[in-house]
Symmetry: C2
Subunit: 146 residues, 2 copies
Amino acid sequence: MTGRRTRQLTAVEAVVRAAHDHPSAEEVHRRVRQTLPQVSLGTVYRNLQKLAADRRLRVVPIAGRGARYDGMLETHDHFLCDTCGTVADVAVPRRPGTRNTRNLHRAGYLVRAQTVTLYGLCPECCQRQETMARPGGRRDGHEREA
Amino acid sequence: MTGRRTRQLTAVEAVVRAAHDHPSAEEVHRRVRQTLPQVSLGTVYRNLQKLAADRRLRVVPIAGRGARYDGMLETHDHFLCDTCGTVADVAVPRRPGTRNTRNLHRAGYLVRAQTVTLYGLCPECCQRQETMARPGGRRDGHEREA
DNA sequence: CTTTCTGCAAACTCTTTGCACTCGT
DNA sequence: ACGAGTGCAAAGAGTTTGCAGAAAG
């Protein structure tokens, strides 16, 4: 499954690895173009897929709208802001024992990886909401936004 | 944000609540039609959105392809099979307060919910793969964490 | 030289939306 | 009766794919 090392593949991997935000495919395309101005979006998608299949990057699925890509391979988790939609890397320390998945193993599952995803408000949005919260005004956190 | 109780809304909620698999919007539409034959897909989407906003169901985002809906509101987690793509409810017991979201709170995050998603092979696919693995046959060397 | 990969554009899938009409309240 | 909700169909967003030509091995 190794395939050829084309400059497009190399560039896509470099971009994802260098990115500290969690870029969408379209965003990766934009960045790759700074080096290889005429790469096509289709090629970016193909290479992202290939890298994901080879486990050289992670795919972070987001509700509704498309996926995000994450070059960080070490174990870490994600925080998704309800309001602004940004994805942040967070460390949710867990015990190394993986005692939790033991009963799954017994049930016949083969657990390859696990992700913790947290939902809520990021510091910025949290503060903004606090500022808007006025006595008498009722607030409730509904995700919307586009 | 309550809105009107239309028969479409009621039917969509009933279907999602009754479902034990994790149906896609299209699948929900198919099922709702058994009761209300001429509901439109658009309406199903609108009602699924509304129910999600009111937190009367959960949205389970899947990589690449569309979202799945889950009527089970109690805390539980999901297992995604790498091969067949099915979503299964699993119980990953955790200690109530012990998760270290405390440092996130300190950092200014407001954590509303958290999900654990496990990836790997479901019992069926696990067995199928075992059967195919022959001595001398190449191994697909993707062993990663647990 | 062969085979895989690319660019392009069209096709596809999933989801959202504008509009006129319907039906809860 | 008023306006939120609906059906329909068309538009949007995101992703995949067929094909002729380019380029990695």
